[in-house]
Every structure is written in C-alpha cells, then in structure tokens.
C-alpha cells in the first residue's frame, strides 16, 4: 500500500499518493487539465499555483508541475493573471530611461515590500530587477530576470500593480538588440550568403553521389 497524503484541491479534500507533483495529484483526483498545464517541465509558466500547509499562516507560490504534494496542503492554481502588456515597436524604441517611464510607469510606485521576490516560483530577485529597470540598468535587469517564465505570481502579489514579467521581457529585448555588441561574424556570413557566394558551392556539393558524401562524412575533421 502506497503512502497517501491529504490534499485540499480548491478546498476539497482528496487522498493522493505521496510523491506526486501537485499537477499529478490533480490528475489523480480526476481532473482533466486544459488550463494550468503547459510544458509540465517548469519552463512555460502555465501552472502557477498558490498553496498553504495547514497550521502554517503563510501563502506560498510554486509551479504545480515542479512541486511535490505535502500532507494537508491547500492548493489553488492561478492559470491566468491579467497582466498589463504594453505595445511598442522594437525598431522604434531605444534603451533610454524614458522608455520604462513611458511604458511601465508603475515600477516607480514600488513600495519595497519584496512580496514579488518572496512569491517568485523561480526564486529570482524580482524586486531587484525592477530596481534595475527603474534606473535604466537594462543589462542588469535582463540578467537578473533572465530565468523568468512569466507565470505572473509576482504581479498577483504586488500592491503597486507592477507587471514584473513584462518589464523583464522589455529589458531583455532592449539588451539583446541594442546593448550587447553585435556579432560581426554573423553579419558577415549573412552578407556572404545574400550575395550568393555559397549558392554555387552548395549546389555543386549537393550533386556529389551519396557514396562520396558518406565518405566525406565518415572522415570529416572534427573541431577540437
């Protein structure tokens, strides 16, 4: 007999085998998931979940696919949160201080409660990356927010109404496009291809008999 634990899914009690993830516990209880289930591997942010263990006063946040059930756990999933996503043209905007002020002015209303950081399912320093965004330190904001899966739990806990994940995306795109040095070797290669420099050679290469290609493949030099 498997060890069972008691869990309260949306407040209703079920007994499920110990060791299941919250997502598996929902399915064990008979739920056929449509919302609140995406990659099942901790990358997509579809299964943001709030829980509390009986006797504990604190609400905690997690991903249902990455968290093992515990006895007397109360679970409520948060598969959608109405975050603000501002529209912009990445070709038009520049990594200036004004751009955050224009698009996400609420970041300047941060009261420093750190609820976002405490709630983050990826254990990121969310309040810190918002602070970097306030100061237009976009490279730092990008690095600090890089592992964000945009589940939205941080924003659900924010008294200032900040859309932290969207601030992170903006900072990362500004960094990737404008602040990191361009890759010259990439730009050169694209130009060579566009100039047709490889058209002849690859067509000729593809004409070789398969036996010859096999031989070339089996004896090709491999970069150390």
């Amino acid at each position: 007999m498997k060890e069972m634990v008691r869990v309260f899914l949306y407040g209703k009690k079920y007994e499920v085998p110990a060791g299941l993830t919250i997502m598996e516990a929902l399915e064990y209880a008979g739920y056929k998931l449509v919302r609140g289930c995406g990659c099942r591997n901790g990358f997509c942010g579809a299964c943001a979940t709030i829980y509390r263990i009986e006797g504990d006063r604190e609400l905690k946040a997690c991903l249902a696919c990455q968290t093992t059930v515990a006895d007397r756990m109360y679970v409520a999933t948060l598969p959608f949160f109405p975050l603000i996503k501002e529209i912009y043209d990445i070709e038009e905007i520049k990594p200036t201080e004004q751009i955050m002020m224009q698009l996400y002015p609420e970041i300047y209303k941060c009261v420093g409660c750190n609820a976002c950081t405490k709630a983050c399912t990826q254990e990121l320093r969310v309040m810190q990356y918002i602070a970097y965004a306030q100061r237009a330190e976009y490279e730092k904001c990008a690095a600090e927010s890089f592992d964000c899966i945009m589940c939205g739990v941080c924003s659900s806990r924010c008294p200032a109404g900040i859309s932290h994940p969207q601030v992170g995306v903006l900072a990362r795109r500004l960094t990737g496009k404008y602040l990191v040095s361009p890759a010259d070797h990439l730009i050169n290669r694209v130009r060579e291809i566009e100039n047709g420099e490889y058209d002849g050679p690859i067509d000729e290469f593809m004409q070789k008999p398969v036996e010859e290609l096999k031989d070339l493949y089996n004896h090709r030099e491999i970069e150390a």
Partner: protein, 534 residues
Amino acid sequence: MYTPEMFESIRKVEATRESRIGADLRRMTAEEKTNLLNEYHPDYRAAGFTTLKIGPNKGEKAPVELAALLEANSRVKDLDIDLNQIDYDADVLVIGGGGSGSSTAIMAHENGVNVMMVTKLRIGDANTMMAEGGIQAADKPNDSPLIHYLDAFGGGHFAAQPDLLRKLVMDGPGAVKWLNELGVLFDKEKDGTMITTHGGGTSRKRMHAAADYSGADIMRTLRDEVFNRKIPVVDFTAAIELLLDDQGNAAGALLQNMETGEHFVARAKTVVIATGGAGRMHYQGFPTSNHYGATADGLILGYRAGAKLLYQDTLQYHPTGVAYPAQIFGALVTEKVRSLGAQLVNVDGIAFMNPLETRDVSASSVIRECSTRGKGIKTPEGWGVWLDSPMIEVILGKGAIEKRIPAMLRMYGKYDIDIREVPMLIYPTLHYQNGGLQIRADGRTTNINNLYVAGEAVGGIHGRNRLMGNSLLDIIVFGRNAGRNASEASKHVPTPGRLNFKHVEKYDKEREAAGIKSDIYSPKLLPEYARKGR
C-alpha cells in the same frame, strides 16, 4: 535525493572521474553505429509499428499509436455545422502557437496581410519553450553552410530531403540574425562574438545558446513580438478539421473551444499547419520531454485532407531524459550538459561511449548499457546511467554550471540533488518527431494548394535523425519561409467560395472499404492523464 544503492555507484563514478577527464573516448565506426541502431533503437522494433491501411501513405509503416489516430473517426462526424456562417475570416490562418507558428505569423504580418493564429493551449505552450541547448547556424569563420549540410545530412542517415536541408543551412545565419535583432539574448563574448559549442554529431562548434533557456528566450521574444503587432491569437481553441473549397484547395479550418466545446468556422486563403510534435503519444511506452499538447494533431488534419507524410516511422529518443527522481521522469536534460564536457558513465564508473555521438546512436548505446550489458543503475521506473555533471566544473571551473545550465541546476535542486556535486541519472525519452507532412522548399504541401506546413509537423528536413540545435533552427527558418510564402500566395487567391468537408466523407468511405472499425476520435488534442474514477 538518491538511494543508498545509487550512492554506492556514485562513489565509483567519483573514483574514476579524474582519470576520465581529457581522456580521448573513441567514436564508433559507421559499421558499429549501424549494428547498434539495428539492435537497440526503438525505430527498429517491429512491434512498435503497423502498416497504414488507407490514405496517401497506404502500405507504409507508422507507429501503432499514430496509425490508430490516422484511421480513427473525425471529430466532425455527425456534427451539424453550417459552414456558410463564417466566424473568422483571414488571409492566412496559422494553426499552432509555438515557435514556428509565431514566426510564420510575424512574417505574414510583415508582408501586410491579415493573419490570425489559433492554438489549443496558450501561445508559447510549445516544445519551443522547452528547447534548452541551442540553435545551430554556420556563421563562424571556420564553418560554412556546406559543412553544416554534411553534418546534418550524415547525422540524418543521408535521408533528408536535399532541397529542405539546403534551405535550413543556407537560411540558418539569417534566422539567428533575425532573432538577435528581435532582442533574443544569445550568449556572447564582450566583443559580440557568439559563444558556440558542439552538439552531438557536429564537426564545428556552431551551437548558439541563451544559457539553457535558449528556446524559452526565443519563444518569449516571438510571443512579445506577436503581441506588439496585435496579431489575433485565438487561444484554448483547437483546429479539429481542415476545410477545403470546391476545387479541393485548403480554405480554412473548423475550430473548437477547448473549454466550452463551441465550434467556429475559420475561413482563410492560405492555411499553415504549425502544430508541432507528438511526444505525448508516448510511442512504445516511452516517457517524453514534450509539452502537454504534443499529440500529432497537424499530421491527422493534413493526412485526412490528402497531404502526404514522410518518415512518419522515425522518432527521436533523446538520450538524456531524467530517469530519477520520479516527479520529473522523462524531462529533458539538455545535450548542452554533454557539450560542456560531461560523460555518460555506467554503474561501475566506466565512460562507455564518446558523449557526442548523434542522438540516435547515444540513445541506443544507453539502452544497450541498461539491457544486454547489465551495466545500468536500477531506478523505481526502470534503469538509467550517469551523466557526470560534476566534471563540467572540474573542466570549466567553479560557477560554470550555474552560468551555463541554470535550468538544470534548478530542476534537480528542487529534489535536493545538487548536480555540481553529484551526477544525473538519465535514460532516453521520446523527444522529437523526425517525420511529418511532406513539403516543397517554399513550405507548401506537395499536393494540396494553399496548405503550408512549418516546424516539427514537417517531415524530411532532417532525414531519419536530427542533430541538436537543428530543430530550433528549423522552426525559425521554415516558420519564416511559410509566413512569407503563404502570405504572398494569399494575395493572389480569391476569397474561397463554399467550404466543405468532402475530404472527410471521402476518407470515411476509404475507412469503411478497408474494414476499419474504431471507437476513438482524432485529432487527439490532449493526452488522457486524468485517473478514471470507479
């Protein structure tokens, strides 16, 4: 945490670690690889396959589970739908909300047409989001599209459709440049040089990455761009059948709300199938690294409408899926772990192969180690071998794991396994659908007008095996390609006349004539994981 028996083996791994670093592990000969695949690769296991009784690929081999869906009942059977009542009207209809669908939609929008996306989950709930290791492109001075072509052609057993592979490698650098200019944060040196590594089967270091969130950063960026362009995304809505016009050209799809069950008619001048892979079919009982919706839907829709499949009998089993702990069984351990130097090691602490063989060879080698050779480590779900992650920091220095593979560190950390200190226990997991719908180099299906395919739903780009990093590349290259060509074509296609399901009726007659009886309905849409009550 690991069991005492596992720790006993880990001590052997630790004992040999130093002597294994820098050791030159021999690569297998072509003949050794062929024999290994024949004997151990799941694609060669006859019981996993059956012969298709009907349709464009009648008489060919397909996985049992896929054949069952291809020969199942249509979800529109016995439905009374007025196809004259158009709910959505678009120039280009994109089915699927992953990396290829989003790239398609962005390029169609760029070309000035009215494009819409429909996805059964959310935009971004896709295998793209979970691609960890990186994206290949031949952009370094010591590399060229020709070398990339040879690596991919050989890695796919010389079976790739040459015109598609040519497009993949020639458009590769342009695809990476496009992503970079959209703001994807590739790993770079201070001067902007891309930090690139090997993947299994590459002869040049051409794997570009964004830590081990490569696909996630690409997907987040593409999704943001789709939103910025205000492209309509109808989410939690599946396409359950294609709609054709009187000439038999693709002209839309019947949609269904995944939550309420309501149906909608979407009419379009061109249709792009970008529905992704099939890991959730759990072929041959394998666990999968794929997202929840990977159920081969597009293959079913296309096949019923008469489109041909190519290499539907070849699947990719990623050599390093999680074997333990159970909560993440089958999850992907990125190939980048091996790119950074970690070896595959058996129960006795012996590195039994070169860690950078191609995926099919590596997976077969792991299966052999755990079966006939009896050198696996027992787990509650079966067997596994070690992927010796602590080697990475011995080679590259402290901090390398946190910097280069943070997602792996986090995933295992949740189960009190610190991969900087102890190795990972792995076993092959169902990862990628090599086969799919056959297309021409312009992205259109070979025999149905106005029907395009992009991404993992395409068959033939890679042949019978795919190299790491060529899938993220293919979804971008062929997504953009389909977006450009489907939108351009839509400018010359008149608004479709009466829409119909005649292909479904015809298909049903074929089923009947072949004596097929089935009580299942397809496309599958979602796997059935909910426990049935008493």
